[in-house]
């Protein structure tokens, strides 16, 4: 009996005791479980399914890195699985393509497009998905089986070694604790190998083969195409708005029906009225004074504060204000000469035009030239040349006081003055408009464009 009690004390720790038995059973369960999982992950591949090892965690918590996802192609006649998880090819940041596994969370704004998202992402994916781009619908999720491949990829040798050690230990435990011929209990007859009562259900060899299968299956999955379930997040500054302002287009309006328009008077002060001519209408408003012209000097009508004249003056006043309020596009010069490009200049001070002033519209017949100053003088012999499509009605010379055009000058454009305009022995191919003053010609020719 002493022997029996000793045996009872130490029996728990014996090779065929309870502890070893429990550990062995655990190890067996682990190995069979691992085998089964691997088999589930690998076998469907033989039936046309495809398997991928999830690399990243944007589908957490349901899908973790290291899980294997088995997917089938989406049958032609089945609807797009809203709420389902699909794999699709997408542009990778490096310019190539990659496979992404995300959930379809809704329909896109465009019919036939679908919005996808990673479960763990706050934001939906920025690109929508069309049905054609879906390469597979996820069907089976096999946990952990791809972990060894992740460890290999990331060089996590400690994890890999730990897992291998546990597995090998399990194999050793199972193989070691399994009752074999040598471990029969006293008093029981020795078993015969292969006999119905004594054969181990799993032999050492079987377990080694199983262990190989687990390892091989796990590492075989390394070569599976990785599927990217990446995290993404976005921030945006939305509704940036650019609205173009409005500005007066400086249209002449009803001024265009006049060659000369004045407020106080239009006078021809040439000797005996000879040598001045106006190739258009002459208007005056609110005054009615038009003096010094012979009947044949003015080819058009003479509007003495008529409705036409009043309307034209209204537009002239508006134009004057519009020109003055139009923002300048460049610095203003006191002396205008040489070639000038379209633009608006405002000078606080007098402006003089000398020599040849070439206005180059660069092919734009709508190009606008505005020169404004507090007084405006065209020096003797000055000439304004319109080049490359410039139009006289789009050339505005503005003076907040008077305009003086002296001998032998050729002006092209509209002279717009607050005060008096005096043109002496010169030609104006354009218009003379005084909003508050008069226009005085002395042997001058005015022809509207």
């Amino acid at each position: 009996m002493r022997r029996a009690s000793t045996e009872a004390r130490h029996g728990w720790l014996r090779r065929d005791g309870w502890v070893a038995f429990g550990l062995g059973t655990l190890a067996e369960c682990y190995l069979v479980f691992a085998l089964a999982m691997t088999a589930i992950a690998v076998l469907p591949l033989g039936f046309g399914w495809s398997g991928s090892v999830v690399q990243t965690g944007s589908m957490r918590p349901h899908v973790q890195p290291g899980d294997v996802v088995l997917s089938t192609t989406l049958p032609e006649d089945s609807p797009v699985p809203l709420g389902g998880v699909v794999e699709f090819r997408t542009l990778a940041p490096d310019g190539g393509e990659r496979t992404v596994m995300h959930r379809i969370v809704g329909e896109g704004e465009v019919r036939g497009e679908w919005v996808t998202a990673g479960d763990a992402n706050d934001d939906v994916d920025s690109d929508t998905l069309t049905r054609d781009e879906i390469t597979g619908q996820a069907r089976l999720l096999v946990r952990w089986v791809g972990l060894p491949s992740i460890w290999v990829r990331d060089g996590m040798t400690a994890h890999l070694a730990g897992w291998a050690a546990v597995t090998l230990a399990a194999i050793a435990l199972v193989a070691g604790t399994w009752p074999t011929r040598g471990s029969t209990r006293p008093g029981t007859p020795p078993r015969t190998p292969g006999g119905p009562s004594g054969a181990p259900a799993l032999t050492r060899r079987t377990f080694l083969a199983g262990a190989f299968a687990v390892t091989a299956g796990g590492t075989a999955l390394v070569s599976h195409e990785p599927v990217w379930a990446g995290f993404s997040a976005r921030t945006a500054t939305t509704s940036n708005r650019f609205r173009v302002g409005t500005w007066p287009t400086l249209a002449l309006g009803r001024v265009t029906s006049f060659a000369i328009l004045a407020a106080t008077r239009v006078a021809n002060e040439a000797f005996l009225g000879l040598g001045s001519s106006v190739g258009g209408n002459v208007g005056v408003s609110p005054s009615t004074t038009v003096t010094g012209f012979w009947a044949w000097d003015i080819t058009g009508s003479t509007e003495r504060n008529t409705t036409t004249a009043r309307n034209a003056r209204t537009d002239a006043l508006a134009l004057y204000d519009a020109v003055r309020s139009r923002p300048a596009t460049g610095p203003a010069a006191a002396t205008l000469t040489g070639t000038v490009r379209p633009g608006v200049t405002h000078r606080t001070g007098a402006v003089q035009v000398t020599g040849t002033l070439t206005l180059d519209a660069r092919g734009d017949s709508s190009a606008l030239f505005v020169f404004s100053g507090t007084a405006l003088t065209f020096a003797a012999g000055a000439s304004v040349v319109l080049a490359n499509g410039a139009a006289a009605d789009r050339v505005l010379f503005l003076s907040t006081s008077t305009v003086s055009v002296t001998d032998s000058t050729l002006v092209r454009g509209v002279l717009l003055a607050h005060g008096d305009i005096a043109v002496t022995r010169s030609t104006v191919a354009g218009r003379l408009v005084s909003t508050q003053g008069g226009v005085v010609l002395t042997r001058a020719t005015v022809t509207p464009p």
Binding site: F33, G57, P93, G230, A236, N240, R243, V244
Partner: protein, 208 residues
């Protein structure tokens, strides 16, 4: 009983393998069902905030709100983009939701986006570009060529340290070069709007 009896061993040996196989099957079934047949995603689950987040300092304001635009006008705005992500990745800048005008204003508002350091939403003072910028492009061109993460530009590589930030500077110009005055006048009152988006995507895993 010091050691498990033969009967126990036999019973356990017979039961263990089927139980483990059943467990594996049940687990695959359960996890597959949970992951792949749920019809909605878990919006706002705890992973969301912990893993990736990208914020900026615009406090909900639009970066550019320019009214009364006149030809040749230009302006700039800086915005600090902060990554609170624990995973490494890359932030790219692109545009979305261009709402153009009938007059085609989007062809004449040019935008250049640079990335660097310094400055904030209130002021670009102190901004220094960290990498060469692309030339200014019309909004219409941006909307065509830089409208997704894959085509986005001005990349910023994040290390996965929460709190890292960078500054983007947008410089716009209302460029009417080559337009006739008539065409410019026709743009009066035209309005375009566009969203500027910064997106972070976690880095690709290293190739095995």
């Amino acid at each position: 009983m010091a050691t498990p009896s033969h009967g126990v061993r036999r019973a356990v040996a017979l039961a263990a393998a089927p139980v483990a196989i059943l467990a594996a099957g049940a687990m695959v079934w359960q996890s597959s069902t949970a992951a792949f047949t749920a019809t909605t995603r878990n919006a706002g689950n705890s992973w969301s905030t912990g893993q990736v987040a990208l914020t900026d300092d615009d406090a909900g304001r639009a970066g550019f709100t320019v009214d009364g635009l006149v030809p040749g006008q230009t302006g700039e705005r800086c915005i600090v983009v902060t990554s609170n992500s624990t995973v490494a990745g890359e932030v790219r800048s692109y545009v979305q939701n261009l709402s153009g005008s009938a007059q085609g204003l989007e062809d004449h508002v040019r935008l250049r986006v640079e990335r660097g350091t310094g400055g904030n939403f209130e002021s670009c003072a102190g901004f220094e570009a960290a990498q060469p910028s692309l030339p200014a492009q019309p909004l219409s061109v941006l909307a065509q060529g830089y409208n997704s993460y894959a085509t986005g530009g001005q990349a910023w590589t994040t290390t996965g340290t929460p709190g890292e930030s960078t500054t983007y500077r947008g410089t716009w110009t209302f460029d009417t070069t080559g337009l006739t005055q008539q065409q410019i006048d026709a743009l009066q009152g035209a309005q375009v709007s566009i969203d500027l988006v910064w997106e972070l995507q976690s880095a690709d895993p290293a190739t095995p």
